[in-house]
C-alpha cells in the first residue's frame, strides 16, 4: 500500500503536466473555439462557457477534449458546416450545434468526423442542420446521447447520423428527428446501433446500404416514412427493436432487400402497413417476434429463399403472410397464429392440423388489388373458410405443421 502512494502521485502530476485547460468565454482573451484551438496542444482540454459563438466550419486537428459548459451554441448561420474533426482521440461533448448550410452538391453537416480514430461525440443537441453527425472514413468512433433535429423539410433534409465507409462504430442513446434518414449506414462494418429513438424522418428511421456484420438492438422506430430498410447487406443482427406506426402505401416496418444470413429476433411490429417486407433474401431467420395489428404481418416475395419463421406471435393482423409466388424453401414452424382454428386432442400445446398462413383472399388481392374493398365481407369469409377446409389455390408449401395453441411470451 505504501508503494502505491508515490505511483498515484506521479500519475496525478503527469496528468496535470500533459493537459492544460483553456477556457473559452465571450469577451475574454479567448473568445472563440477557433482561438482556443490555435493555443491548444495535444492532450489539452478546452472548456467552452455558455454563450453563442459563430462557427463557420471550425476544424479540429489536434488530439484534445472539447467540453461545453451549459450547452454553448455553435452557429454556422447557414453559411458552412459547423465543426469538423480531423484528429484522433478527440472528445466533443455538450454543445448546441445549429444552422449548417443546406446544399444540393455538398453534404453540409453539423458535426463532421473525417479520417479519424477513437473519437467520442456525446451529449450534443443539433438543431436545424442539413446532415446532423457525419462520419466518413473513420474507425472506433462513439456517438452517444446526442439529439439531432433536421430541417423538417422533405426536399432539403440530409440524414441525422450518417456513416460512410466506417468500422467499429457505436451509435447509442441518440435521438434523430425530422431528417431524411434518421440513421444511415453505407459501407459500414462491425458496428452497433443501440437504444436510439428515430421518428418523423422522411425516408427511413434506419437505413443500411452495403454494410455487413452490424448489430442494431433496442431501438425505437416510430412514424417514419418507412421504419428500417436493410439493403444489399450481409450478416445483420436485428434484436429487440420496436417498429411502430409506419403507415402508407409502399411503407414498411422493416424492408429487407437482397439480404443474406441475417437474424431478426425478439422485435415488436405494431400498427404498420407491412411488418416485414422481404425481397431477394437468403437465409434470414425471423424468430420470437411479435406482429400485432399490422395490415400485412410479413410479405415475402418468391425470390426469397431459406427463410425460417419460428416462435413468432401473429395477432390481429389483416393478413399474416402474403407472397406473389409459391414460397418453396421457406419454413414456418411453431408460431402462434390467432386465426388458427384447429384443435389439440393430445394436449401437447401444438395444433394437430397444420395452419396455412396465406389466406385465399390474400391470394386474390395479389392478383386484383382492387378487391380489397371486399375485405371483411361475408363472401370473403366464406371463400377463406372453404379454402381452409379444402386447400386448392393457396401455396401448398407454405404451412406451419406445428402451430402453437397458446401465445408465446416473447
Amino acid at each position: 500500500m505504501k508503494n502505491l502512494v508515490p505511483i498515484f502521485l506521479i500519475l496525478l502530476f503527469n496528468g496535470a503536466a500533459i493537459g492544460k485547460t483553456i477556457v473559452v468565454k465571450p469577451g475574454t482573451a479567448v473568445p472563440s473555439l477557433k482561438k482556443a484551438l490555435e493555443l491548444a496542444t495535444n492532450g489539452d482540454t478546452i472548456v467552452v462557457k455558455k454563450g453563442t459563438y459563430i462557427s463557420h466550419n471550425t476544424i479540429v486537428k489536434k488530439e484534445i477534449t472539447i467540453l461545453g459548459d451549459g450547452y454553448p451554441e455553435l452557429d454556422a448561420q447557414f453559411k458552412e458546416e459547423v465543426i469538423t474533426i480531423r484528429a484522433n482521440n478527440v472528445k466533443f461533448d455538450g454543445f448546441t450545434i445549429k444552422n449548417s448550410k443546406t446544399g444540393a452538391m455538398r453534404d453540409y453537416a453539423g458535426i463532421r468526423v473525417h479520417k479519424a480514430r477513437n473519437v467520442t461525440i456525446s451529449n450534443n443537441k443539433l438543431v436545424n442542420n442539413f446532415f446532423g453527425i457525419y462520419l466518413s472514413d473513420s474507425q472506433w468512433i462513439r456517438v452517444l446521447n446526442n439529439q439531432t433535429e433536421g430541417t423538417w423539410s422533405p426536399l432539403e433534409s440530409g440524414n441525422g447520423i450518417h456513416l460512410w465507409q466506417c468500422g467499429n462504430i457505436t451509435v447509442k442513446n441518440n435521438k434523430a428527428l425530422g431528417h431524411r434518414d434518421g440513421i444511415y449506414f453505407e459501407f459500414v462494418k462491425n458496428s452497433t446501433i443501440e437504444a436510439n429513438y428515430s421518428s418523423g424522418n422522411f425516408r427511413y428511421g434506419l437505413h443500411f446500404m452495403f454494410s455487413d456484420d452490424d448489430l442494431y438492438r433496442r431501438n425505437t422506430f416510430k412514424n417514419n416514412g418507412s421504419g428500417v430498410a436493410v439493403m444489399y447487406s450481409k450478416r445483420i443482427k436485428m434484436f429487440d427493436n420496436l417498429f411502430v406506426e409506419n403507415w402508407g402505401s409502399s411503407i414498411y416496418g422493416l424492408l429487407l432487400k437482397d439480404i443474406s444470413s441475417s437474424e431478426i429476433r425478439n422485435n415488436r411490429f405494431i400498427r404498420n402497413t407491412t411488418g416485414i417486407y422481404m425481397e431477394g433474401c437468403d437465409g434470414v431467420s425471423v424468430v420470437e417476434n411479435n406482429f400485432n395489428n399490422n395490415g400485412w404481418g410479413i410479405r415475402v416475395l418468391a425470390n426469397s429463399v431459406n427463410g425460417t419463421f419460428t416462435r413468432n406471435n401473429f395477432l390481429a393482423n389483416s393478413f399474416d403472410v402474403t407472397t406473389n409466388g409459391s414460397l418453396n424453401l421457406n419454413h414456418f414452424k411453431n408460431n402462434y397464429w390467432d386465426k388458427y382454428e384447429g384443435y389439440d386432442l393430445n394436449k401437447d400445446g401444438i395444433g394437430d392440423v397444420p395452419y396455412r398462413p396465406i389466406s385465399l383472399y390474400a391470394q386474390i388481392i395479389e392478383q386484383i388489388p382492387q378487391s380489397v374493398m371486399l375485405m371483411r365481407s361475408f363472401i370473403v369469409n366464406l371463400l377463406d373458410k372453404v379454402e381452409r377446409s379444402i386447400p386448392s389455390i393457396t401455396p401448398e408449401s407454405v404451412k406451419d405443421e406445428h402451430p402453437r395453441m397458446k401465445q408465446w411470451t416473447n
Partner: protein, 145 residues
C-alpha cells in the same frame, strides 16, 4: 348533332387516354421500382414510360439500368421512353438515350452508382471533379453494368 357531340367526346377521351406522357417524380412519396427506396433526391431519378403507357419510377439512373438488365428485352424497345433526371436542373427529366452520364465519386447518387446525368457531353465534362471520373453514353452505361 347530339350523337356527334357524344362521339366527339368519346373520341377525345380515347385520344387522351392513349397519349403517353412522362409523369413527374413525386419526391418523398414514390418508391423506386427496382430498389424499393423512396425517391427523395431531386438531382437523381429516372423513369420508364413503356410503349403501352405503363410507368416505372426509379430513384437513380443505375436502378433503371439494373431494372432493364434484369428484365432483358422487356423495357428497352424503341417505343419505350427512357428518362433520367438532369443533375444540372433538378426535377427535370431528359431523354436517357441521348443523355451523357458522368461517373464520378463526387456525385453520390442514391444507389451508389455515382452517376450524374447531363443533356450534353460538354456539361458533363465541366462537372468532372475527380481524375478517375468517366463520361458514358447510354449504350456504354447499359452494357457496362
Amino acid at each position: 348533332m347530339k350523337t356527334l357531340n357524344i362521339s366527339a367526346l368519346f373520341v377525345s377521351v380515347l385520344l387522351v387516354s392513349c397519349s403517353r406522357e412522362p409523369v413527374p417524380l413525386s419526391y418523398g412519396k414514390d418508391p423506386c421500382e427496382h430498389c424499393k427506396m423512396t425517391i427523395m433526391d431531386t438531382k437523381y431519378g429516372a423513369e420508364i414510360v413503356t410503349a403501352k403507357g405503363k410507368i416505372f419510377k426509379f430513384d437513380a439512373a443505375e436502378c433503371m439500368v439494373d431494372f432493364i438488365n434484369d428484365n432483358p428485352g422487356k423495357y428497352n424497345a424503341p417505343g419505350d421512353m427512357l428518362l433520367t433526371t438532369n443533375v444540372a436542373a433538378p426535377e427535370t427529366l431528359i431523354d436517357a438515350r441521348s443523355a451523357f452520364f458522368l461517373k464520378d465519386k463526387a456525385f453520390k447518387s442514391p444507389m451508389g452508382g455515382n452517376l450524374a446525368s447531363f443533356n450534353s457531353r460538354q456539361l458533363a465534362e465541366n462537372n468532372l471533379q475527380n481524375a478517375d471520373g468517366t463520361i458514358l453514353t447510354w449504350d456504354e452505361l447499359l452494357s457496362g453494368r
